[in-house]
Amino acid sequence: MTGHDTGETVVSLKGIRKSFSGNEILKGVDLEVRKGEVLSILGPSGSGKTTLLRCVNALERPDAGIVRVDGTTIDFSGKVPNKQILELRRKTAMVFQNYNLFKNKTVLDNVTQGLTVVRGVAKNEARERALKALSSVGMDGYEDRYPVQLSGGQQQRVSIARALAIRPDVILLDEPTSALDPELVSDVNDVITKVAGTGVTMILVTHEIRFARNVASRVVFVEQGNIIEEGTPEQVIDNPQSPRIKEFLSKMMAK
């Protein structure tokens, strides 16, 4: 278990509802994440865990509910001005399952884009921060390469560097290793563990139960649009209350 819980709430979701084509995916979810925590969201496919994560940076807009990141609060029941959405997104960073690095930019540019274009950071400072971030994920020397020249694992590490360089209030990771060849997974997991150790607040959606158990400071289990259990990894993964969770975990761990 990692993470330095300092008590202050950084992310707060209240009453989040979301439907897709008539199917209610999230049924009024409440969630709080404290500063320095590494929260892992587990659950079967279709449970809504990815949708929940994407509500934090408004890539999915909830039908109802309140999302707060640091000082920015958005109530999705009414009309939400774009300015607020942008404010929200500027406090978060996301690592995608498919890395989604900008194909037309070098590795260095990929990391500095968020700083120079979005946050108006000066070019040399942005470059310095970017190089530091790349170094911390083990990608020194790759600054001038293009994503198409890198392996999946390397691209994902650049993606993490991009998130780090921004210094967000929270980093959101959406199944970061699901699209990787098995031999590349452990490298990326090591980087995530290292980042978690530095006290960055993270919310991690993943299928990898063992990894979640090792890196998370808190775990929630989502099923059919509701959080049905929450607690430390020991509590939820080793000794879950719900029998369905037990069943799910034994299936996943049997691999």
Partner: protein, 236 residues
Amino acid sequence: MELDYDFMVTDFPTVLAGLPKTLILTFWSTLFALLIALIFGCVILSNAPAFKQLVVALNTFIKGVPLAVQLLFCYYAVPFVAKWLGSIGIYDFNPRHIPYFPAAVVAIACNFGAYITDVVVSSVKAVDRGQIESAQSVGMTGLQTALHVIVPQAVVISLPSMTNYFIWLLKGTSLASLINVTEMLITAQISAADGYQYLEAYIDAALIYWVVCAAIEFGSERLFKRVGFFLKPARA
């Protein structure tokens, strides 16, 4: 075969002198066609209710009418338009110099603009959705996303189709010869009129068109290799 080979050689420079005029016509037509395509493309991509349908209907109609008909239409329309522009003071209308060149540009630009609109729309749609979400997650506004991510990638994606249409457009300028516009084909015809050596003149013209089109195709392939390398799909 009974060909006046001497004439073919001596007439060649004369026909070649018509090439710049063809290229100028191509340039202006391409410019306006791109302008039309960008405007129409944005309308279609924005999904604006009535405008999108209007634009799509207009394009469908234009694509179903031969360029020759469009050229002739503009040819007969231009005296009226020029006279009207003269009456409101924008244009100095001289009945002895009717502006057929702009008429040709309008016809060709509208025709190809309709086709290129489709290229614009499909290129933008071909940009991976993940790239856009990535930009959003980093906090870019819509405009920033368009400028830094969508437009650069869409332009490269569109290159093969665009050069294809460019070559078609260049070949299409030869139809402007039907409405008295100076370009290479009509230059060839005029040079042959005296001695009735049409075949020789047409062979010269055909060779020049062939070389120019082949050169453009070759050049664009090289360009695409250099600029488009980043488009290969990422390995999982």
